[in-house]
Symmetry: C2
Subunit: 129 residues, 2 copies
DNA sequence: CTGGATCCATGTTGATACTG
DNA sequence: CAGTATCAACATGGATCCAG
């Protein structure tokens, strides 16, 4: 990532390392469920089981852990409504929304370069030896 | 990813599923080494052990596997020079370069939202109970 | 309804040694 | 130089059961 983020620029609040953060973000959007969940939050807040249904075959454990991940990076918020039965709403933050936009540009990239990718994969499989 | 890629649009060459491809790309850039390696290829071709040194504590096994991954998605090329000792050069393709650009926008995002992320992480750790 | 806790199968990574 | 092969450590995800 040289040249992308000035590692020594920010004066005092020198947290771990910007590069680590970048990697952790990439790892997060690279995991199995995060992006799908974020995408389901694009139109507004969703409740836990609502997401569970929308994201189809995700397990509770994974949904919980995915949401905790989003929350812990400030990409989504968790709002508990003290009703009975309990209701919990999740919503994207502005940060999350901004990141989702970037992720969608990856989707666009994929769409644009479909041929390249499949061609490359096919070549490695069996170019007729 | 609803709305990003029209799942049914492309007529005949219906490979697996664009969504799968998107996920596989996200997973690739989300892994530990891919982006770092790509970034080292940004200024031109590099040889195997050259990359090995540049990417510091990467193991041969991981470098090989990372490069194979890039190659298999058409993000980088592998050129063998039949000299002795053998020389192998890796270079980004145009696709790879385009993807790297997008990834760098994630880096920019991270830089912009540093505060949000760290604040969220700190909040989850110990908001003074 | 929301989610914590546990167990377990599987995949991924690193260390190390060996090869054309 | 540029890999491959093997094995062990670890992380990840799913299934299941329990609880506020």
């Amino acid at each position: 990532m040289t040249g992308v983020v000035d590692r020594e620029a920010r004066s005092t609040a020198e947290q771990p390392d910007p590069c680590d953060l970048i990697r952790s973000v990439l790892a997060r959007v690279g995991d199995k469920w995060t992006v799908v969940v974020m995408d389901e939050l694009r139109d507004g807040p969703r409740r836990f089981n609502e997401l569970r249904r929308l994201v189809s075959p995700i397990t509770q454990r994974m949904l919980t852990s995915t949401l905790r991940g989003l929350e812990s990076d400030g990409l989504a918020t968790r709002t508990v409504h003290p009703t009975v039965p309990p209701q919990v709403e999740y919503a994207l933050t502005d940060s999350g929304r901004a990141l989702l936009t970037i992720v969608k540009s990856v989707a666009t990239w994929a769409d644009t370069h479909l041929d390249t990718v499949y061609a490359a994969r096919a070549t490695l499989k069996g170019p007729k030896s």
